[in-house]
Symmetry: C2
Subunit: 647 residues, 2 copies
């Protein structure tokens, strides 16, 4: 970067003083540390050592000639400084210092050492701010604009190091399996049918329309990696930066990292094997429990290994049993039950005829605990659409007449039979709602699926229903290839059924996914009944990654673009893929793992912000550097654009 100055003639008319030479030069004259605090045990007693670090706390004056200080080094370890020379007299919290002295055993300890200071250089003086923010230091929860102070804490230094180790493991494993990492462009092309993309104005003007042109930042390297397969690459991977300009939710970032991979001449099974070989060892090495569980063929929780690979569950199983396509199997037995067999059925919406229930056994001991939890589960803000009806069983009468509470929703031919089967007891909670037919289950999560999620997110629910604290993995397969487009009806649809367009479908994942071969002919007759060759890896209710066998046949891909998805300018948008498919692109399949989320899970933290050095805020701002910012109009004019007149 070249920065332009001006008024070269006026060095004498200085606005600021050049800081005094002596003090500045001493800040830049440093010796290397001879040791880190972690290693001092091995140092000969009374050896002189040099330690660089920060003043961790305000030094304490013990007597006229004795100060105690605390030095923190770059690993976040601390050492007591003993100062008989008033060297610490003016030291402030977070001063950067170089301490020289002798190590000696602490008086009150058998093993701990302290440093008797001989001399100390202040390499950079801190202002009072870190000291004012000391309270945040204790909780670890600094305001985001002080991220650089937060990251100095041991916890965050450990996370940064762990993320580096995980990254290295990922790359080593994939390299060992014959994958090569290839960087793909970030200045890509706008294909606006997807999620909202970030645009990058270019200075080029389209020579036909005379309009300005734009790059787009990629949502994933999907298209480039398919082009790499067309380019003869056999096994590709990349830790790739991806971008989405979506309205941010608590745990979404506008830029994020994924482990992206693709294999030529391969099918879903090959990819799933690679992913298991990649991820299972990461859980064994890095997660808090050093293990990863799955369900075996008898539905028992077992550790994933050769005999018990990660279980497979169809989308339909996941949706009917757990009400969501990413079931949290740490509570494998907390299942939703379809009462159709018992001749109960919903009647309020003909597309949602299935009445289903979720029973929370031994859910409450007292009225108070009940009210507390029920209000949380009843809160409509926690739901996308309908809130399930929640019926606590407070006595014998409730146990027999529970169904009456559901009669606004469902008709029961033989409620007594059901009661006999359900065996409700005082302290149970029965929750009920309706859903679509099993063969066209598109509402995801269902109201009960969402309720189950809320239960398992609460400490109360975890304690009662989770069978394990360890992570539990499953593959989810046989997703619908297409989904009907949801209608945007009234603004507050929380209490309503979702409704779907009858004349438009969207790709459930992306338009490059291959149909299940057994459903091939249905592409013509009933696309919504087609399953795709897509597979998600779900761990403890989190979609860790997903992948699919891709289409490599240009005519089939074109058919899906034009006839099913009704994309008008598909050749303009995706012509590069179609052209490549027509010149010898082999069959291929691939996968992508959300790497930030993976790191957060392996680091045992809830928020992906903890594992990103400089995360964006929920409004997409970087509060450390202060961006995005206004840019002067002259600059944006270079891109042949200008502010909207109203702005």
């Amino acid at each position: 970067m070249r920065i332009q100055g001006s008024q070269f003639h006026t060095w004498s008319r200085l606005l600021k003083q050049l800081p005094p030479a002596e003090s500045t030069i001493s800040k830049f004259t440093l010796q290397k540390s001879t040791i880190t605090i972690n290693n001092i045990a091995g140092v000969a007693e009374n050896a002189e050592v040099v330690l660089n670090g920060w003043i961790d706390k305000k030094p304490k004056k013990i007597s006229k000639n004795l100060n105690f200080g605390l030095l923190r080094d770059h690993e976040g370890n601390t050492l007591q400084l003993v100062d008989t020379k008033s060297l610490l007299k003016h030291a402030a919290v977070e001063d950067v210092v170089q301490a020289r002295g002798h190590l000696s055993p602490k008086k009150d300890s058998d093993s701990a050492l302290e440093l008797k200071l001989n001399s100390m250089t202040t390499l950079n003086r801190s202002n009072r701010k870190p000291s004012e923010l000391q309270d945040f230091k204790e909780t670890g929860d600094y305001p985001p604009e002080y991220r650089f102070l937060q990251l100095r804490l041991h916890k965050y230094q450990a996370i940064l190091k762990k993320r580096n180790s995980i990254t290295k493991s990922v790359r080593d494993t994939l390299n060992d399996q014959g994958f090569i990492e290839i960087e793909t462009p970030l200045l890509f092309k706008s294909t606006p049918e997807g999620a909202r993309e970030f645009l990058v104005p270019s200075r080029k003007v389209d020579h036909n329309s005379k309009r300005p042109t734009f790059y787009a930042l990629p949502q994933s390297p999907q298209q480039y990696k398919q082009l790499l397969i067309a380019s003869g690459v056999n096994k590709y991977f990349q830790l790739a930066r991806c971008f989405r300009d979506e309205d941010l939710r608590a745990d979404r970032q506008p830029e994020f990292t994924q482990i992206d991979l693709e294999m030529a001449f391969s099918s879903a099974n090959d990819v799933m094997q690679v992913v298991e070989k990649l991820l299972v060892p990461l859980w064994k090495q890095y997660s808090a429990s050093n293990s990863l569980l799955t369900l075996n063929s008898r539905g028992r929780l077992v550790s994933v290994d050769k005999e018990d690979p990660i279980c497979h569950m169809t989308y339909k199983q996941a949706m009917t049993q757990y009400g969501i396509d990413k079931p949290d199997l740490r509570a494998p037995d907390l299942k939703i039950m379809d009462l159709t067999e018992f001749k109960a059925r919903g009647y309020t919406n003909k597309d949602f005829p299935v009445f289903e229930i979720l029973i929370l056994r031994n859910a409450f001991d007292s009225k108070e605990s009940l009210q507390q939890n029920a209000s949380y589960f009843n809160n409509a803000n926690n739901y996308n659409s309908r809130v399930p009806i929640i019926v606590p069983i407070e006595d014998e009468k409730d146990a027999n007449n529970w169904f009456e509470k559901f009669m606004t929703l469902a008709a029961f031919e033989n409620p007594k039979l059901i009661s006999k089967f359900l065996k409700l007891k005082k302290g149970d909670i029965i929750c009920g709602s309706t859903r679509q037919h099993s063969f066209s289950l598109f509402e995801n999560p269902t109201p009960l699926g969402r309720l189950r999620q809320l239960v398992l997110d609460s400490d109360w629910g975890k304690e009662r229903y989770q069978k394990t604290n360890k992570d539990v993995a499953t593959w989810v397969v046989d997703f619908p290839l297409f989904s009907p487009k949801e209608k945007n009806t009234k603004e507050d649809k929380k209490y309503d059924y979702p409704s779907y367009c009858t004349d438009a479908v969207t790709s459930t994942h992306h338009p490059f996914t291959m149909v299940k071969l057994s459903d091939y002919e249905k592409l013509q007759t009933n696309p919504l009944q087609c399953s795709g060759q897509h597979y998600d890896l779900v761990v403890s209710g989190v979609e860790v990654g997903g992948g699919s066998t891709r289409i490599h046949d240009a005519e089939l891909q074109d058919y899906i673009f034009e006839n099913i998805l009704q994309i008008k300018n598909s050749d303009k948008l995706f012509g590069h893929l179609l052209r490549a498919f027509r010149m010898g692109t082999p069959p291929h399949a691939g996968f992508a793992v959300g790497f930030d989320r993976l790191c957060a899970m392996l680091c045992g933290t809830e928020s992906i912000r903890d594992v990103i050095a400089f995360p964006k805020s929920i409004t997409g701002s970087d509060l450390v550097v202060g961006c995005p910012t206004v840019v002067d109009e002259k600059t944006i004019n270079m891109y042949n654009i200008r502010y909207n007149s109203k702005s």
Copy 2:
């Protein structure tokens, strides 16, 4: 990505036919290869094998029942197919096939094998295009829109693999030295004093000015890595994507990758040691010559090793001896000579008083060879400013009167003395030009420096003056911290002296570079005479990377922003750094290596395009996917911007 379709009702009114099930399904039903061509030697004769790959050439019909084909697998190796069943009858070049058959020895060879085809499945049929482009395949030089065909060639597959290996070596070495890789944001803040940045419109509107806001893509992670040092990180690195929206030259890319590193509590020497430990082994492992040379203390070319680390050369030495700050030391003795001591001096511009010469000994044998080369070196298009005067010595007279040709530029007090010293002979060429005083050498390259570069870029010059074909490395240190701003005078300044503003300086590298401590006081009196603590690593005339000791003192940094560079809103632009510096940022230094260029050098290719999977064209377009593109106005309106009215 979710793609929206429409007209769900009209499945019957199909525009395109669904491709027939049978042929499509067979394309997706594949067996794994049992072997690669590279490994067939170990297979038992007559074993049945499965090989996946491409039809490399149009099959040859030998007789009615015999076709020969050539299969190429993903490693780019080929195997002869022997077909007695007319399986290859309709095969086209670049068809993707699965071949099953028996291996048997080739009739006309002792060791080579061929595959007797039992059956073959076409996994994807290619159109005629690859066959039409066969001529490009032979040269390897496909039109850029067919990059995916080009990358299938063995050369490019090898480059992709080699880049992956180099990447891995870099990461392993840095990890072993205690560096951790940390990803920094790509949605950064616009700091428009630098090179032109790419902007990324955000949907946020600034609440004060009501104007739209923008992110900028980073030119390098410089500011974030300094913030990481402020965050207590001890040794950071990253293979980082960087962006510059500059007018592209032949070998510039708008996005590129650099090895970026930074070390806390460290100085220039620490960083240079790390860089040598990182890069020297790469040259030994990956370069064609498996070695890296440098100059020893006696000016001899020696292999870099512990006894002979990479030599150091000051900016002044480089500029006076080689006329450029990135000297090509493969011709260490081809040096420029300052004739000031001989009382020759330039008189046409008082700021360019030094007359200097470069002698090309034994440069030509005949008039023809002379003319050919001289016209190349005389071509003003190859120079930024003045073209040197070039005087071939064709006879004894020329050898004595050479100086007369330079008298339009320089005055000579005692030309005979100089002649005696120069010992010019028939066949030599003497080139002369003027330059600035050694203490304010800002024209870079000088005319003779540029000429020297042209000589060494030519095959003719390489042959005559290069002492080695191996790469030769040097450190260049003691750069001027600031440079005067060049005036944009007339458009064609090729024949003119550069002229400089007297009232504006720019940072020679960037504004975060620390001044040499011995020059500290000159910041106040004469900034242009200050050297910076910056160091470039130059290999064979290429600036492989550069780094510096950074300023970590907020007051000094602020002084440089405001008083020297006269940046008015420095706190707005760089406040994040100043704030961090004021809260305990340790001393630090770092480095960045241009990774694409490094890979190109190690792969022995001239163009960085060869080592980038999907490079942009010289106009910044991706010709494979076709971007940048026009975006509809509704989309850009979301960002509160619109097309310029004139567009």
